[in-house]
């Protein structure tokens, strides 16, 4: 009944270095995350998912879609290419501005959106990336989590975007599935018992993930 939507944006690095096992693991991880979320009645009632991929350009791979209507083909990676995370953030800002429903006197608007960014490198368009960050902050995300996958990912750069940076030491399916499991648990956390101390916190990351604060 006029339930609020929970928009969830996932930004995925599809630069050349993700070819092979890494992107395969990401695909498997996302499918597992989708099934897990669909088995959660709270998520099914509220979550809307969008996926933006970025390499030499940023694409709205999946426009904001209700969870039960999401149909995903396998995400492909080009032969080679840069990591235009700045362009991805710009596209994200445009999408958020277009998608997000504000409250009106008659209807409840959306929950604050959640943002998950996964990259295995560092932005090739660093200037654009840094320019986009203040705009991202104005959009009032409920949480921003960045995932630095593999040894080449630059945590320091990601920390300019959010203080929640998790690292995956390896880029195999176990690591990614752990990460996406954590994403689905974070999305579902709003429906579970809240502690007396009051702070709304993400669940502890799985053992494969290191949280950098």
């Amino acid at each position: 009944m006029s339930a609020r939507r929970l928009p969830v944006y996932i930004l995925l690095d599809t630069s050349g270095s993700m070819r092979g096992e890494p992107i395969h693991s990401v695909n498997v991880g996302i499918q597992a995350m989708l099934s897990a979320l669909r088995q959660d009645p709270y998520a099914l009632e509220s979550v809307h998912l969008s996926i933006i991929t970025f390499d030499v350009e940023a694409r709205e791979y999946l426009p904001l879609t209700p969870l039960d209507a999401v149909k995903l083909d396998e995400i492909q990676v080009p032969q080679a290419g840069a990591t235009f995370l700045g362009a991805a953030l710009e596209l994200l800002i445009a999408c958020v501005d277009r998608d997000l429903r504000k409250s009106t006197p008659d209807a409840k608007g959306d929950w604050r959106p959640l943002l998950f960014v996964m990259t295995d490198g560092s932005p090739s368009d660093l200037h654009a990336y840094r320019q986009a960050i203040p705009e991202i902050n104005k959009r009032g995300f409920g949480a921003i989590v960045a995932c630095a996958a593999g040894p080449k990912a630059k945590q320091e750069v990601l920390r300019e975007l959010t203080d929640r940076v998790v690292t995956l030491d390896t880029m195999d399916s176990a690591a990614f599935s752990g990460f996406f499991k954590w994403v689905s648990a974070s999305v579902a956390v709003g429906s579970t018992s809240a502690g007396v101390s009051g702070s709304v916190s993400l669940p502890p990351p799985p053992p494969e993930v290191q949280l950098v604060l």
């Binding site: 009944m1 006029s2 339930a3 609020r4 099934s35 669909r38 088995q39 009645p41 709270y42 099914l44 009632e45 039960d68 504000k102 409250s103 009106t104 006197p105 008659d106 209807a107 409840k108 608007g109 959306d110 929950w111 604050r112 709003g190 429906s191 579970t192 018992s193 809240a194 502690g195 007396v196 101390s197 009051g198 669940p203 502890p204």
Partner: protein, 499 residues
């Protein structure tokens, strides 16, 4: 090969568990015993001394005070109660019975279980939201409306029992209650967070949707602030009322269209569940009504409070909903007790009648006290003769006073001892002999008959004719029937609706 770990509980019992996590909640990792008859759950984080002591009390003294009494076995089906506490490799854990099979989806979701929930726990939310019921849950899992009443009845009874023992659950929600609407069963789980007033304070504030308004309103205050409201018996009562409302009407009683803060949805949420909480069906303040235009098609007709108002739950429950969501919403002392809910639900089960439409999804509805009853769910009118038995009971020899309790008659409807005597209540205290049917009703050759199976005093008062066991009596409008003599013995006055 997975390893089986053997260890001892703090009270010395030997237990075993398979070293493989079968489920993981917010607080605990769960392992099966090798024969899967019980589970061993370990806390993920270190627990303090008080938590350990509380758990030992819950598995020990509090459990015994409920289960180790005459009729204590009854509660085995209504609670999943920890039986022992253990420490293993530095982690605190508990031993609890495995959930019975019927609390796991047998069919799961529609279209050949498109969501893949077959075999998963039947979390209550699946059954308490119209959209999930209409779009996703396999119809074979949904159960009838009568079964939903039974779910609520068991739930109210379980909460009543805890409160009688001086315990508060502190986090009642559809996550912590397993339900099986296909059979009308319910079980309270996660009782390890029990609150004992003055002894063990709560460690959670509750689950969104079920947190009492005063707890939400004061949640910004420090834990030890004297004005801070924390979970206790009265907040359980709010959660219980919300659960019952949601299991019967598939919508939330406070989630209407009213927006309190246009810019900040968190603050809006806090206000609409806390300080400014308002019943969506408030009789005089319509400002938080659910807007049908905003509802998804699959939320209808349940989102339409004009079409399916709370009053379709009958007079006894309606009164309690008003008490819970109007008078008691911001005044915890006025909330109906679990015992009030239990009594009202028992009486409502007697007011229910089958819908004549074989395709009706709900199958049963509460008699609307009219001469032209209509199923509120599918709109099918009742046709035929419908006897309504008004129950009176004796306080003094020969004097009968109304009990505000009616029994609807339909083919196969049964009379039990608790109908014949108002001192007997259908609850855990019944012995096996008292659970047996004492009479039944049947429609035969255009007349309604009461067949006497075990009512030695049965008599048609109007004609002073005793009806022996094995005999029968035709029901007529205005007729007076004595069901039992003596203290609490009941007299029935028949009203015949002809629609």
């Amino acid at each position: 090969m997975t390893r089986v770990v053997t260890c001892r509980t703090l009270d010395g019992q030997v237990i075993e568990f398979v070293d493989e996590v079968i489920g993981s909640g917010a607080m605990k990792d769960v392992h099966f015993s090798p024969d899967r008859s019980y589970v061993v759950a370990f806390y993920k984080t270190a627990q303090d001394f008080q938590a350990k002591e509380r758990l030992q009390m819950i598995a020990g003294k509090y459990r015994e005070s409920i289960f180790d009494q005459v009729g204590g076995d009854y509660w085995q089906n209504l609670f999943c109660w920890p039986t022992a506490v253990l420490e293993h490799e530095g982690r605190l854990g508990l031993v609890a019975p495995t959930y019975p099979r019927h609390f796991f989806f047998e069919h799961g979701s529609r279209n050949g279980d498109m969501l893949g929930i077959k075999g998963k726990e039947k979390e209550g939310k699946w059954f308490a939201a119209a959209n999930l019921r209409n779009r996703f849950v396999d119809p074979r899992e949904l159960g009838t409306w009568l079964n939903h009443l039974k779910v609520c009845l068991l739930l109210a009874r379980a909460v009543r029992r805890m409160h009688m023992a001086g315990l508060a659950h502190s986090d009642l929600s559809y996550k912590n209650v397993l339900v099986d609407p296909s059979q009308g069963l319910a079980c309270v789980i996660d009782v390890d967070g029990l609150v004992v007033p003055g002894k063990y304070p709560p460690d959670v504030v509750g689950t969104p949707d079920f947190i009492a308004p005063e707890v939400v309103r004061t949640s910004h205050l420090a834990k030890d602030d004297p004005n801070r409201c924390l979970p206790r018996r009265e907040t359980d009562l709010h959660a219980l009322s919300v659960l019952i409302y949601m299991y019967l009407l598939y919508r939330h009683p406070l989630r209407g269209a009213k927006v309190h803060d246009l810019d900040d949805e968190q603050r809006d949420e806090m206000l609409s569940m806390g300080e400014k909480a308002l019943f969506v069906e408030h009789p005089t303040d319509a400002s938080n009504r659910i807007k049908v235009a905003n509802a998804k098609p699959t939320e209808l007709p349940w989102a339409d409070t004009a079409k399916l108002p709370f009053t379709i739950t009958g007079p006894y429950l309606s009164q309690l909903f008003l008490q819970a969501f109007v008078a008691g919403l911001h005044d915890p002392a006025l909330r109906p007790s679990a015992n009030d809910w239990e009594t009202a639900l028992v009486k409502t089960v007697d007011l229910i009648q089958p819908c004549l439409n074989p395709k009706c999804e709900q199958k049963w509805y509460v008699f609307d006290n009219s001469t032209k009853p209509v199923c509120p769910f599918c709109g099918t009118p009742f046709r035929g003769k419908l006897p309504v038995l008004n129950l009176y009971s004796s306080r003094k020899e020969g004097q009968y006073r109304p009990d505000n309790h009616r029994l609807m008659v339909w083919t196969g409807q049964s009379l039990f001892l608790w109908h014949a005597n108002n001192l007997i209540a259908p609850n855990e205290k019944l012995n096996e002999a008292q659970k047996k049917r004492v009479g039944y009703f049947v429609f035969h050759q255009n007349a309604w008959w009461l067949v006497n199976e075990n009512l030695p005093d049965l008599m048609d008062v109007s004609t002073k004719t005793p009806i022996p066991i094995g005999g029968q009596l035709e029901l007529k409008d205005g007729q007076q029937i004595l069901l039992a003599k003596g203290d609490g013995g009941r007299l029935v006055v028949v009203q015949m609706v002809d629609a």
